[in-house]
């Protein structure tokens, strides 16, 4: 048993490589009709050693993906100011820009520094100015942080661009075993890093609440097992190796407990593992299938999928009272819930007219609203600010990632250059 929990050699399978990764790019399908026009001027570049990336373009892409902003094309701009004294509001009113963002990149010792200023074109005043600094290798992250600041100042909601995504990509090997890779990228799909590669199935990637570790299910030993892996070191630990299913890991909000599905006692039930002691507690026991646990943000209850009523539906288990209640009532297939940070919205896979779609249930009004209209949508994951839902779907017979605004108004796709991409998991907010 000691061997079971031993830290596995990171070099064995946890490869860090950028070759052969499924790089994903962005295609915006639908923006909000009321999107705010914003002009993002290319940043002025002062001095040597600046990054090759076009940082203003990264900010532009972030704001466009949110669906709430409509960045204006560079060729339509009548000027390229980089300091306040060069700003002429009439130039920006002429092209119907509501806001204007200018910026400057410079090197401050080994650090890249990005200064930026945001102007309200209508009221002709500066809204906000600030700067971000960090290593040149993190230039893209600095741009995402600028986008976060702009987003928060203009919408009142914290931005979630300086975050990461986890996903599984699979390369088919006709007549042989497929390659599965666990990949981490920036929130816009850039900078993919392969965390694990195996020819056995990989699934259910999920984040620790501090964003420093991931957990997943790997069949690399020939049987399913749950692993946790530190991102900074690649250090891995096998958490389970039980007979039957070892699946659906879900970290508790305090990071101390892992909820999971095990069938070691006969059929799939929900268990909690104390990560310090590895002690297991069975919390949901029923002869039906009970799986896909997820935590409510207060850590006091779990949502899970059960077919105890004949078809899969979402149930809620209260850890204090030990009581279970059914949450979904509409439709004959509702599964794999994920909850927004405010605890109000539950996104899930919902079957309607034979199609599997992503739907959101408002726990206050009990209203269920479909967010997507494609056929095989699954694995919804909510951005930490609750604005967007990332999910997996099929497009032209291939698995791709797509996102939709929680209000349903904006959609974009993240097609991979190769292979099938699935099971996205949006990171929590990341500390600097």
């Amino acid at each position: 048993m000691k061997r079971l929990f031993a830290v596995l050699a990171a070099t064995l399978l946890a490869v860090i490589a950028t070759g052969a990764t499924a790089q994903i790019s962005i295609v915006i399908d639908e923006g909000n009709r009321d999107a705010t026009p914003i002009a993002i001027v290319p940043f002025a570049r002062q001095g040597a050693g600046l990054p090759a990336e076009d940082l203003a373009e990264i900010v532009d892409g972030d704001l466009a993906r949110s669906g709430q902003f409509l960045p204006i094309a560079r060729e339509d701009m009548l000027g390229r100011p980089s300091v306040e004294s060069e700003v002429f509001y009439r130039d920006w009113r002429a092209i119907n820009a509501r806001y204007l963002l200018i910026g400057r990149e410079s090197m401050s010792g080994p650090q890249l520094r990005v200064d930026y200023e945001l102007f309200d074109v209508t009221s002709q005043r500066k809204v906000f100015s600030g700067y971000e600094a960090g290593p040149v290798s993190e230039a893209r992250m600095l741009a995402h942080r600028v986008a976060d600041e702009i987003y928060e100042h203009l919408t009142g909601v914290r931005g979630a661009f300086a975050t990461k995504l986890l996903y599984i990509s699979v390369t088919r090997v006709p007549g042989g075993k497929d390659y599965s890779r666990l990949t981490m990228s920036d929130s816009d799909g850039a900078r993919p890093i392969v965390l694990l590669e195996t020819q056995e199935p990989l699934l259910a990637p999920t984040w620790s609440p501090d964003g420093k570790e991931v957990a997943y299910v790997s069949f690399e030993t020939g049987r399913p097992a749950i692993y946790r892996q530190e991102l900074a070191t690649g250090r891995r630990q096998q958490l389970t190796n039980f007979k039957g299913l070892n699946g659906a890991p879900a970290w508790s909000p305090d990071g101390k407990t892992m909820a999971m599905t095990l069938s070691k006692d006969g059929n799939p039930d929900i268990y909690l593992m104390d990560l310090a002691t590895k002690q297991l507690t069975q919390v949901v026991r029923h002869y039906a299938i009970d799986t896909e646990p997820t935590w409510m943000p207060d850590g006091q209850s779990l949502l899970f999928t059960s077919d105890r009523g004949g078809k899969p539906q979402i149930y809620r288990y209260d850890l204090r009272t030990g009581k279970t209640e059914r949450v979904t009532h509409e439709g004959n297939y509702n599964a794999r819930a994920r909850v927004s940070q405010d605890g109000r919205s539950v996104v899930m896979v919902h079957q309607q007219d034979g199609r599997f779609q992503i739907a959101v249930l408002d726990l206050v009004t009990n209203r269920l609203t479909p967010l997507t209209s494609t056929e095989l949508d699954e694995s919804p994951s909510i951005a930490p600010n609750g604005s967007m839902v990332l999910y997996a779907t099929k497009y032209a017979e291939r698995g791709i990632l797509a996102a939709v605004a929680v209000d349903g108004d904006a959609k974009f796709r993240l097609p991979a250059r190769e292979g099938d991409v699935r099971e996205p998991a949006w990171s929590p907010y990341l500390s600097r």
Binding site: L203, F219, R223, I289, V349, F356, S379
Partner: protein, 173 residues
């Protein structure tokens, strides 16, 4: 099986040889001849039985091969269909005559969520296992595993592909 039948042949040969050795010091030639004849008859009967067993095993193997080692299921169901029952029965008959250990791999189509499908695949593998156990096959000889929807045989959507993927595969352990 192969090594077992070889072993029993060896035992029979040794037995015959021991008889011959035991008799070699005896008084009369007649006694020797009688003993040798008895041993030869026993050996002949034994090998006839062996031949019959081997033929029966071959017939059962043939029957199992005929029905195949993949059992198919309806959507979101782990109930054995009449076709699947027929196929599983052929393998049960064979398992009663051999000593092989088997592995049952449960699979689903791509519809529905991945972890629910893991559970559904396990339920399918278990339903084949339980039926085999109910029909006298030791559960110790059966290992089950679910791959959910992660190991399709037919890529692509549509009922024709889905039907091929909703299956339990029987494999030697």
């Amino acid at each position: 099986m192969k090594h077992l039948s070889t072993a029993s042949k060896t035992v029979a040969l040794l037995f015959s040889a021991a008889l011959l050795v035991a008799c070699s010091g005896s008084d009369t030639k007649e006694q020797d001849e009688a003993a040798a004849a008895a041993a030869a008859a026993a050996a002949a009967a034994h090998s006839a039985q062996q031949a019959e067993d081997a033929a029966q095993l071959a017939r059962l193997e043939e029957a199992a091969a005929q029905v195949g080692n993949v059992f198919y299921f309806e959507y979101d169901s782990s109930t054995l269909t009449p076709e699947a029952l027929n196929a599983v029965n052929a393998h049960i008959a064979l398992l009663h005559r051999n000593t092989e250990n088997i592995r049952l791999e449960g699979h689903t189509d791509e519809r529905g969520t991945r972890e629910y499908n893991m559970a559904l695949g396990e339920r399918r593998a278990n339903s084949v296992r339980d039926y085999m156990v109910a029909n006298g096959i030791s559960s110790m000889r059966i290992e089950t595993i679910s791959y959910g929807e992660e190991r399709p045989v037919a890529y692509g959507s549509g009922e024709a592909n889905w039907a091929e993927n909703r299956r339990v595969e029987l494999k030697p352990q």
